[in-house]
Amino acid sequence: MDFALNEEQEMFREYLRKYLNDVGQTKVARNFIKGDLQGFLDIHSGLTDLGCTSINISEEYGGLGLSSLDLVPFFEEIGRSLLPGVYLETMAFAVPLLELYGTTEQKENYLPQIASGSKKITLAWLEPNKSFNPDEVECSAEINGDSLIINGVKTLVSGGDIADIYILLVRTGEEVEEGLSLVLVDHSEEIKRNNLKCVDESKHLAELKFNSLAVPINQVVGPINQGWSLLQEGLLYLNAALSSQMVGGMDRVVEMSTEYAKIREQFGQPIGRFQAIKHRIVDMKLELETARSLSYYANWTLENSSDDRAAAIYSARSFAAEAYIRSASQNIQIHGGIGFTEEIDCHLYLKRARYFENYLGSSQDYNEQVALALAW
């Protein structure tokens, strides 16, 4: 029995924590909100130098050849500092899918560039006023010789203005699920990109319009018309990492509440002495630790191809998503008036929690996935 990150993983976390502290933690996100993209890109280089973007890329493509558990410190720490970017989609979706299903050409083309930090990939799935259901994917890719001709609109694309490549879910056939494919599309001027206002302003969302865009057919990931099942596989990796990212945010939220409750005095004593505050922070801590245990295990199941991986990952995701909103909300209340100001970070965590709440599916959707995975 050894249920803990190993020493290397904890050491890597310390490096990262120190690095992100040194660059001002949430300052990067705050500047990003104000429009400072370059500041983020500098940090991105820094993280690349630390090896963050090569963790789970195999050695032959310039990576470190590590696995999901080794991503945990990285995602917890960027969750903690609310770092912008598309690390989730790049490292925990594109990379595992390319490693598992990419052609040699695709791997050679993309993996080294991801590892070196020069390319960032995001996922384009949702369409305007549609749900995440497979029958609501209308964006089409028609085969024309060696090309796919793409028409349609994708919306709420995460990091739409910093991603270089999209993995697009497109309709290539009639069948509801077995008529969908995943295609790697490099960004170009031909794609009309509109930024969308998001309640979490550190997430830049975009709407993408494709008007007869031609893409070489060898940009399809895995077999054509098998995109939906590949997507399901990719969602396991993505949600395991997302649960860690949310744990990172919750960790900071609990820390903020705890620190503030120790120093803020009212009625002649630190407010952390009042059980209304103390016990609430304890409840936040309980949820944090539970979410953390679930996310560790979720990532462990990926690394070990465990039978219960779908149940483990999706329950980790939906638990963390709900708990994150609760603790980010309580954090504001515990801070009182100052928690309601823009100046203090409290609201940034709440907005991020809300952003993740329904990202790629609701908590109810993922609970239903848990039920199905358990053969209920």
Binding site: L126, N129, S131, F132, N133, E136, L156, L196, K197, C198, V199, D200, K203, L205, E265, Q266, F267, G268, Q269, F274, A276, I277, I325, S329, I332, Q333, G336, G337, G339, F340, T341, E342, E343, C346, H347, L350, R354, Y355, E357, N358, Y359, L360, S362, Q364
Partner: protein, 398 residues
């Protein structure tokens, strides 16, 4: 038990309705409810609106007739708030003047103070703000440190206030300052000043809120000056004046409740119209169940309010039960707004002009955090209810 309203009250409502339809800013009733955003235009717009109210006889309706009010009953005040919520009327820029400072002046002000202030409160010519909270005195108001030192017939005031609503627009401030130190009884030795905001010793700095608004200010007092004549009540007895001032809020949380009711109804409409997976949200069993629960809770809160109001009508003044209304409404409001975001799915994170349904829910959700903190946090309300309604022992250190 009686919910119907009298003919006189009905006539009052009709009169107000008619007046509103004729006097609201142009296009307001039709949904064009835009208030300019620059400080000067914003201030002018709202002052104009209050002037319009005043001229129509709809400012300070609860005030005695001799001071320009119409001696409205509590029920008429309720109706007034209901109608203002119904038409989503512009905010009352001098809310603090009309609902709190004015009535306090009428009851406890000197003749000179009445002469000087009353009329200008009603017309909106002089806008008032409150100077209570300080960085180190939030829930614990008695811990204020802003200091007033006597110098001849002047008082030299130094310190910092926060959460001063309309502070940047206000002409006058109802300010609490420490004039005496009682180490044991912290609420002793506080004096209430009617401070002139238009002086060099007073600076305001807007506070940017998490919802993007700037409704509150920090107020810096650096050798600001008040005179003996600006003291309301006795020196060192400002705490009493503040308590009195709060008791003038006879109808309590009414307006917030009527807003909650309106928002609930809007929520039902959205849940009927908004489709997910080609089904109206309201046909989703989870949504129906949760909305039925909200129905019970908002109705229950409203009925609680009516029950407390019945007591107020019988006794003539509100009791500590008003904390129940405040706590229920602010918490429920937060939960409802949160739920509305949840059920919109991922599109629910889109904001402002990109929001799929009325963006009010995102803003409402963010703003709702202010309501469980401002005007006494939910924790303070729970203490009040526990101690004053249930008679449980007081917290140590208070």
């Amino acid at each position: 038990m009686e919910f119907t309203i009298s003919k006189k009250e009905e006539a009052f409502r009709e009169e107000l309705k008619t007046w509103l339809s004729e006097n609201l800013p142009y296009g307001w009733m039709e949904g064009k409810r835009e208030i300019p955003t620059t400080k000067e235009e914003y201030s002018k717009f709202l002052r104009d609106w209050q002037r319009t109210l005043y001229e129509g006889g709809w400012a300070g309706i609860a005030w005695p007739k001799e001071y320009g009010g119409r001696n409205a009953t509590i029920m008429e005040e309720i109706i007034y708030h209901q109608e203002m919520v119904r038409v989503k009327a512009p905010p009352l820029i001098n809310y603090i003047g009309i609902h709190m400072v004015g009535p306090t002046l009428i009851r406890s002000g000197s003749e000179q103070q009445k002469q000087k202030y009353i009329q200008n409160i009603l017309t909106g010519e002089e806008v008032w703000c409150q100077g209570y909270s300080e960085p180190n005195a939030g829930s614990d108001l008695s811990a204020i440190q802003t200091n007033a030192t006597k110098d001849g017939d002047c008082w030299i005031i130094n310190g910092q206030k926060v959460w001063t609503s309309y502070g940047h627009l206000a002409d006058r401030c109802f300010l609490l300052a420490r004039t005496n130190n009682h180490p044991e009884k912290k609420h002793k030795g506080i004096t209430a000043f009617l401070l002139d905001m238009k002086q060099s010793g007073v600076e305001t700095k807007p506070i940017l809120q998490m919802d993007g608004n700037q409704e509150f200010n920090e107020l810096y007092l650096t050798d600001a000056i008040a005179h003996d004549a600006d003291i309301i009540g006795e020196v060192d007895e400002g705490w009493k004046v503040m308590i009195e001032l709060m008791l003038h809020e006879r109808v309590g949380i009414g307006a917030e409740l009527f807003s909650l009711e309106m928002r609930f109804n809007e929520m039902v409409e959205i849940a009927k119209e908004h489709h997910v997976n080609e089904k109206p949200l309201l046909e989703d069993r989870f949504v129906r169940q949760k909305m039925a629960e909200f129905y019970a809770r908002y109705r229950g809160s409203l009925l609680n309010y009516y029950r407390n109001l019945t007591n107020t009508l019988k006794k003539g003044h509100p009791g500590p039960e008003s904390s129940i209304d405040k706590l229920l409404v602010s918490e429920l409001n937060k939960e409802m707004a949160s739920f509305m975001i949840t059920i919109q799915g991922h599109h629910g994170v889109l904001w402002k002009e990109n929001a799929p349904v009325d963006t009010v829910w995102q803003d409402e959700f963010l703003a709702s955090f202010g309501q469980t903190i401002g005007g006494g946090t939910s924790e303070v309300q729970r203490n009040t209810i526990g101690e004053r309604v249930l008679g449980l022992p007081k917290d140590r250190g208070r």
